[in-house]
Symmetry: C4
Subunit: 123 residues, 4 copies
């Protein structure tokens, strides 16, 4: 398929809860950027994390192969540094080809889980 | 009414929980694409499903009649193949006339349900 | 302030749960269109409801005064007809001046409430 | 990084629940505007609050430093006046440089929390 989407995406809301309840890993509290690459070419993606009280971290580099989706858990990013839990952050996602990004969180700190999701801002 | 919307929509987030709780079918865990056709002409809609570890599935073909809405459960898509549960996916929805698409999930795996919804990405 | 927004908005997802739990009216299951009119002029708003199995209802007419917000519960619309509960629908909201519309649902059918919200589609 | 985003943002939905449950301050019911400033220059931000039954309040003035994020709780705004709880409102956020705004609510009135989030409307 053709490359749908944009090359720059922004998720202003970011927060990884410090703990969770329920069977692992499905009910681990997590923050996800769902990245879809509808085209044939591999997407070279760079992620930058912005904080309230210090300068940005990154770039974190990930690849999304052609005609594949990647549901990336921010919890799993470790290089150049782990994203601290229970801390406000935002993220910018840049790609060399158009992609589509959607933001989702599962918060399982309490007995029953809570969900949020929104399309990211693109330009 | 005139045809409002766009012809191409993308939902980067997709996940059908493997199980649920509560009275059926309202509380079955499900993933929905709400498709509105505001115009007089029937919309011929094709859906493509993208995965993390294999090539895309589809097209799934559905019709939305003029001036009607279709709340399509991905759980119900069966031809050319069923969408596996507990598996990350994304979807692209193409129509021959402008439509509007919104994405909603009811997650009823725990005792209390959780909801998410967002407008899809369009171009 | 100047009139911010657009004159046509679409909410593809619509569903009023048939029952609820908790103190009334805050925890009544409801579906809301939050309409903001940032300008000085009163907004004359018309709402059309689309269904899966019959033609559209409306227009429902509401006014939003200048520099005021209206959190309109679809449950409260009664003229020209009540919107049935436990039924899929979509809505189109048209205004004579630019407005901004956001869609929110409180689902209180179970012991714990669930929330969803998204900006509507505009053009 | 360059300044990503827009200078005017609108959140049509606004409501601070009157009470909450769970450990403070993480589980205090709250309404948040997550504001990201990806550029080098400090963003001078003005927030206006619109109500159903009276004229707007504000401007509330906040700064977001260069390459920083601010997860602003509407609960914390006090000058020129506190935003009343259990009251419908909307907000307009204006900045002298482009920013990105996302809207999130944690509702902890019941035993289990509920979450909503959406990208704001921008122009």
């Amino acid at each position: 398929m053709e490359h749908l989407g944009k090359k720059t995406w922004v998720i202003a809301e970011g927060y990884i809860p410090a703990y969770g309840n329920g069977p692992q890993p499905q009910f681990t509290s997590h923050e996800t950027a769902c990245i879809l690459n509808t085209g044939k070419t591999t997407a070279e993606v760079e992620i930058y994390i912005f904080f309230a009280g210090r300068g940005p971290a990154g770039p974190y580099k990930v690849q999304v192969k052609g005609e594949r989706t990647l549901h990336l858990r921010f919890n799993d990013l470790s290089h150049p540094e782990v994203i601290p839990k229970d801390t406000d952050y935002s993220s910018v996602i840049k790609s060399n080809v158009p992609i589509v990004v959607q933001h989702t969180r599962l918060d399982s700190r309490q007995a029953e889980n809570a969900l949020l999701s929104t399309i990211a801002y693109s330009e």
